[in-house]
């Protein structure tokens, strides 16, 4: 009897196109979209993908300004070889030369910023170009004014315009931070010179700090976007199974099929139990299909088979229990209100907190902690722990909330299931 009840449920699922679309097609589509779209955000080897385009508009150049600088120096009574030497120093310390030649040309920065030089006349057009992330405009007498202000205290602090695109905050902020470093460097050496310390002495001996990549042990690895979103969608979409199963149950009550089943001698408990088993089987199949999709289409190498089996089975159990509970509540309230709220709101919020859409820990640690107590969040964390290369022992602290939810579902289903039959 149990088998035929389960068979009936499965047929109902298979004959409706909508459940199949939502349970299988939706997650697969979303996994594909998310893992490709957000690959650059999560995968460390694709860092270079975000490259900002900076346009430099220099309204003069060193050669043009040299004459006026020489003239100014002569007015300051610098003559002969001293003047030549000074000009040399100024030229090699010209901020724009250093920016173009050493900073933006260095390999580290080159990865992030692509530099382009344009003519001042083009400025208005470039400002409208959506592809460009920032424009640095050097005014005509900048070099002369800089020398006057920095070395002779004769001119107010010169300035230049940095125009940043708002379309692209992240790229603009890369440009901004690099140029800020450049400006600070000059400010620092200026401050040193003013108190009589040679900037070279400080800057050259200064130790540089190095970032060491996280050392991973042999079995360990980082989680790429493909694994993250496959798991995220897997745990989220399994939560839609109970909605469909309980929806069918309510339909059966409305169509009096349920009463006929009861009349045929099937106990209400067996009916509920069949929904529990069906939910479990469907969840198991769904998870296996999605995992196989990940393996063969996205090329994910799933590791820790033993741990994965434990987690997937436990989650399937939970989904079965939840199906039984939602059915119970639907039959008790005789409306689909509960399942509606569940599928419309609870699933979204749980998926959100559990980190299915993005790593919520980046936004709020508090929410991430709450998320680990949702059944899907706990399952996701457990699977990710296994996929990071940890041993089976590491997952139990996440499995406990899941088992807690399971026991709660089963308990409530048993207590609340209407044993005296339901009329529509």
């Amino acid at each position: 009897m149990l088998l035929s009840l389960i068979g009936k449920q499965m047929k109902m699922l298979l004959r409706n196109k909508q459940p199949l679309i939502i349970l299988l097609v939706m997650p697969v589509v979303l996994i594909t979209i998310l893992s490709t779209a957000l690959a650059s955000v999560m995968n460390s080897d694709e860092q270079t993908a975000i490259q900002a385009r900076l346009v430099l508009i220099d309204e003069s150049n060193w050669e043009q300004e040299e004459a006026s600088i020489v003239k100014f120096l002569e007015e300051q009574k610098v003559r002969g070889p001293a003047l030549e030497a000074l000009i040399q120093t100024f030229e090699s310390n010209d901020p724009i030369r250093i920016l173009e030649g050493s900073i933006l040309n260095s390999e580290d920065i080159n990865k992030y910023i692509a530099l382009e030089k344009r003519q001042p006349a083009e400025l208005d057009n470039i400002r409208k170009d959506k592809e460009i992330d920032g424009i640095l405009v050097i005014p005509t007498n900048f070099r002369l004014n800089y020398i006057k202000s920095a070395y002779f205290d004769e001119h107010e602090t010169p300035d230049m315009d940095l125009l940043l695109s708002q379309e692209n905050g992240i790229r603009a902020s890369i440009i901004q931070s690099v140029l800020h470093e450049w400006q600070t460097g000059f400010t620092k050496s200026l401050a040193l010179t003013k108190v009589g310390i040679s900037p070279d002495e400080i800057m050259q001996n200064g130790q540089t700090i190095e970032r060491i990549e996280q050392v991973l042990q042999e079995r360990e690895r980082k989680i790429p976007a493909s694994i993250y979103y496959t798991i995220g969608m897997l745990v989220m979409f399994a939560l839609y199974i109970p909605t469909f199963l309980s929806g069918f149950a309510l339909q059966e009550v409305q169509w009096k099929v349920y009463n006929r089943i009861i009349l045929a001698g099937v106990s209400a408990t067996l009916y509920a139990f069949s929904i529990f088993i069906t939910g479990m089987i469907v969840a198991l199949m769904q998870q296996v299909i999605i995992l196989l999709f990940g393996k063969f289409v996205l090329g994910i190498d799933w590791i820790g088979l033993e741990g994965m089996t434990v987690i997937v089975l436990s989650y399937s159990l939970f989904v079965g229990g939840l199906s039984a509970l939602l059915t119970t509540l639907q039959l008790r309230t005789k409306s689909d209100g509960v399942a509606n709220i569940f599928s419309g709101l609870v699933v979204s919020i749980f998926a959100f907190l559990g980190g299915s859409f993005f790593n919520i820990g980046d936004v709020s640690s508090l929410l991430a902690t709450i998320g680990n107590f949702t059944p899907n969040g706990a399952t996701m964390t457990a699977i990710l722990t296994i996929q990071k290369g940890q041993q089976l022992g590491g997952i139990w602290s996440y499995m406990f909330p899941l088992y807690g939810w399971f026991v709660l579902c089963i308990f409530l289903s048993i207590v609340l299931f209407p044993k005296r039959g339901v009329t529509s």
């Binding site: 939706m26 970032r211 509606n340 709020s364 680990n372």
Partner: protein
């Protein structure tokens, strides 16, 4: 039409729980996610106890953006292995590492911040070593008071003000996302009324089609608008979010957004048969729209051009762009006219298609009976 309003109001009075809980949820989530509480990044930090690393640690502890827990190196390694959402920081004298599962923007920003701290400290040490502590004070004063030259920041687009406000971006994003649900629930009554037969009885009564639809839709619209305004007012006047003088523009844009979402929900329910189908579809679409419309993350991090092109499908995108432009970038309502007119156009289109489909389906429904 008055009758329809009264009936809807009565319904609302009897079952206010869903509406209230949805509104409360919207506020709570938008508040937490936009950085109201608990938004500081929790860092697990281990140092090798050298002066340098301890000084960096001290600086981190003084920053409001981070909540620092100090551990030993072994403890840190162990916790990072077990937990998913933690970010660890290993500070040594001349090197540091950021320990995390994924390489996110947060990790990159953190690395930059740590690097700057190290460099500043190294600079300080070097100056002190060469010239002594007293000179350092002079140098520090020079750095603060006499910049070598100034970088004047401005926006590339002349009609905008240059500003970056990540908190407002996430506030708007999550507000638009959650309001999407709350509004669409208000429209589902049509399916419920159809199931119970009330819809047909109303049609038989002496009431014109226009009055029937207008009565229902205007009520749903008002409820949706009240909800959205409640959220906006709460943030503006009670929590005190800075909207950069664009508050009234935000209200105007929101009223069009509510219209668009309502039209969209009407379109969806004209395609499905039951309330449960519509809630599943709406919840999935809300997530998809939030993703492609830039509610969860700023769109610029999305690399795929195909996905970027899809943003035009998302109602959330129009709302999001318009809201961001009038507040953060200080544009005028005329400046975001394109987005507003797109919202109105789409809303009108979807309402027309939705009502046509609803009418057609009911006609067929009758003939089959």
């Amino acid at each position: 039409m008055k009758g329809i309003w009264l009936a809807r109001l009565q319904n609302l009075k009897r079952k206010p729980l869903v509406l209230i809980s949805m509104t409360v949820m919207t506020v709570i989530f938008a508040y937490i996610l936009s950085g109201g509480v608990g938004s500081s990044l929790t860092l697990l930090v281990a140092t090798d106890n050298t002066t340098m690393s301890n000084e960096v640690l001290e600086r981190l502890q003084n920053e409001d953006d981070y909540t620092v827990t100090v551990l030993t190196e072994n403890e840190l390694q162990k916790i990072i292995k077990e937990k998913r959402d933690k970010i660890g920081l290993l500070l040594h004298e001349k090197t540091y590492s950021v320990l995390s599962d994924t390489e996110s923007d947060v990790v990159r920003m953190l690395s930059l911040a740590v690097e700057t701290m190290y460099n500043d400290l190294a600079f300080h040490d070097q100056v002190v070593a060469v010239a002594g502590e007293s000179k350092w004070e002079e140098v520090e004063k020079g750095i603060l008071e006499e910049p070598s030259f100034l970088l004047k920041k401005d926006s590339m687009d002349e009609s905008q003000v240059f500003r970056y406000d990540g908190a407002l971006q996430s506030l708007f994003g999550f507000m638009l996302y959650f309001v999407f649900y709350t509004i669409s629930i208000n429209v589902q009554f049509i399916l419920e009324d159809k199931r119970t037969g009330i819809w047909n009885r109303l049609k038989l009564a002496s009431i014109s089609r226009f009055q029937l639809y207008f009565g229902h839709l205007s009520f749903s619209y008002l409820i949706g608008l009240v909800q959205m305004l409640l959220v906006i007012f709460l943030f503006r006047f009670i929590i005190g979010t800075n909207m950069y003088g664009g508050f009234w523009k935000v209200v105007v844009i929101s009223s069009f957004y509510v219209l668009l979402v309502m039209a969209f929900s009407l379109f969806i329910i004209s395609l499905v048969k039951t309330v449960s189908q519509s809630s599943v579809i709406i919840s999935l679409l809300a997530v998809a729209f939030a993703m492609i419309g830039g509610a969860y993350w700023p769109l610029e991090i999305v690399q795929s051009d195909g996905l970027l092109a899809m943003k035009w499908l998302s109602p959330i995108y129009y709302g999001m762009e318009a809201l961001k432009r009038v507040t953060i970038y200080g544009e005028t309502l005329v400046g975001v006219g394109t987005y507003i007119s797109m919202m109105i156009l789409l809303a009108a289109l979807l309402i027309v298609i939705g009502i046509t489909l609803l009418e057609k389906r009911t006609a067929r429904y009758h003939s089959s009976e």
